[in-house]
């Protein structure tokens, strides 16, 4: 059975050019970038070239990029590093209720250590309000961390405005760009971004490698200790194939950003129009326009997401859901709840996230398959039957 992969916000297939580069590096560049002889120099060059590439995509300087093990580590490092590094100024951080768990759980851990955290609410589209951000800033605030685009809904935050406010108030600004790096135009100077997280596996790179942009002059404490690598902020022998792969993935993503972005937007809108035309009682989760080109989050009323996922999987279609039943904690998506979704609506949510390999034909197959799947699950649903009865049907 041909499979249709529509969960690119979870992870992406590795681009063939990236895979080639990773394999080449594994075979040929085994050197330790911290050594002086030829193997080491070659390794160092490879790391530096990747660093240069990753920096150039966001208008940063090479030495401001640190390699990490992925988005989670970058987020942890940024939040903890700035929090610990500015204790003499204060112990207050600002974030939002819809951040990735890598941020939220780090904040919660810091709260236990005596830091204070303000979690900004979001509106029905999942956007924070700038007024509320301004009001939340205090003399002892040391960090604002707000994600660029949300992984579940794709809603894009007004990062430039947030950056301006942070700069005016002299507060460091971190943004999790795991879902936007290489997809949306980012310039750290124009947007006043001080720290930014990247993960390779969301942009057709390998898993377990990422980067943290850290503006020169930002006060940070390391959270890991060891050798001298990565300005002592992130010690440890470099993950050479990972770094080479991330560099290649960044290169390809930025090269194709415009064309691929427009292509994905067309596909996403085709999918949305197809769903709207064929399935009643649905709603869009996320901002209608200020949203990632590849992300469509839809709730199908009266049905539950896991059962939709299983049914679609039987047809080879791979998607995600914010349903409580799909999470190990058995709680519905914190993002959808923060947007004011009632639990039933979160229950019936599906996230379609598109990527490079997807074609129009695939989207059309999904549009064809989905109504039957939803209809079957609705035919079992006591909620749907109640609804029909109320309608007098």
């Amino acid at each position: 059975m041909k499979r249709i992969y529509l969960d690119h916000n979870a992870t992406t297939p590795v681009h063939p050019e990236v895979a080639d580069e990773v394999c080449r590096c594994l075979r040929e560049d085994f050197g330790n970038a911290g050594t002086l002889y030829s193997y080491g120099r070659e390794a160092k060059k490879l790391v530096d070239d990747a660093r240069e590439m990753i920096a150039s995509v966001i208008g940063a300087k090479r030495e401001e990029i640190l390699f990490t093990s992925g988005g989670t580590e970058s987020d942890n490092m940024a939040v903890r590093g700035v929090a610990y590094g500015n204790i003499n100024k204060g112990r207050h951080l600002i974030t939002s209720t819809i951040e990735h768990h890598a941020i939220l759980e780090t904040c919660k851990a810091l709260e236990k250590e005596g830091f204070e955290v303000t979690y900004l609410p979001v509106d029905e589209y999942g956007t924070i309000k700038l007024d509320e951000l301004k009001n939340a800033i205090r003399p002892d605030t040391t960090l604002i961390t707000i994600m660029h685009a949300n992984n579940e809904t794709g809603t894009i935050q007004p990062v430039s405005e947030i950056g301006r406010i942070a700069r005016e108030k002299g507060v460091a600004f971190h943004t999790d760009t795991v879902q936007t790096y290489g997809k949306l135009k980012i310039n750290v100077d124009e947007m006043n971004i001080d720290l930014l997280s990247v993960s390779a596996h969301k942009l057709h790179g390998p898993k377990g490698v990422g980067a943290l942009y850290m503006r020169k002059g930002v006060r940070m404490k390391p959270v890991m200790f060891g050798g001298h690598q990565e300005r002592k902020m992130r010690p440890g022998t470099h993950n050479m194939p990972g770094i080479a792969g991330l560099g290649k993935a960044a290169e390809i993503a930025s090269r194709d950003m415009q064309v691929e972005g427009e292509r994905l937007l067309k596909l996403r809108e085709r999918l949305w129009e197809g769903i709207k035309a064929n399935i009643p009682h649905i709603r869009l989760n996320g901002h209608p326009t200020e949203r990632l080109n590849n992300t469509l989050n839809v709730s199908f009323e009266f049905v539950e997401g896991e059962s939709l996922i299983l049914s679609l999987d039987d047809l080879g279609i791979c998607v995600a859901s914010g349903s409580a039943c799909t999470s190990d904690s058995l709680e519905p998506s914190h993002v959808l709840l923060a947007m004011g979704c009632v639990p039933e609506v979160a229950h019936g949510s599906l996230r379609f996230s598109l990527g490079r390999g997807n074609t129009e034909d695939e989207i059309d197959l999904v549009i064809q398959a989905l109504p039957k799947v939803v209809e079957r699950m609705r035919s079992m649903s006591p909620l749907y039957r109640e609804f029909l009865k109320k309608q007098g049907k």
């Binding site: 539950e304 896991e306 039987d314 058995l330 039933e344 649903s381």
Partner: protein
């Protein structure tokens, strides 16, 4: 993560649908994740002669509802009372630990339906 049996019952649920004039109805909600199950039974001479269900929930919830209907059909009320969530899960070749609560929903729905039948019957016999 689900056994083939679970997937079979999920794909082809047995006894799914509403029942006309049931003798007992059990409606339960899952306090853990917010799902819902309804079970309807017909009883003749203390034997469950027919049973149907409707479920709003995950794959395990649908499969356990389907399985519980298979297990109780033709059983006496006393036999049916002995069916626990573990019985249902076992009959499905097991469930992932995080999904055991879904089988509790199935047991609760069955018990609620039998309770409803008993109380209706008690009402009917009141002089």
């Amino acid at each position: 993560m689900y056994s083939e049996k679970v997937m079979d019952h999920f794909r082809n649920p047995r006894n799914m649908g509403e029942m006309e004039n049931p003798d007992g109805v059990g409606k339960v909600g899952n306090p853990v994740c917010g799902d819902m199950m309804e079970l309807y039974i017909k009883v003749e001479n203390d034997i469950i002669t027919d049973v149907k269900f409707m479920t709003f929930g995950c794959g395990a919830a649908i499969a356990t509802s389907s399985m519980v209907t298979e297990l109780v059909k033709g059983k006496t009320l006393d036999e049916a009372l002995k069916i626990s969530n573990a019985t249902v899960a076992e009959a499905l070749d097991g469930l992932p630990p995080v999904k055991m609560h879904c089988s509790v929903l199935a047991e609760d729905a069955l018990k609620a339906a039998m309770e409803d039948y008993r109380s209706k019957k008690a009402q009917a016999f009141k002089p």
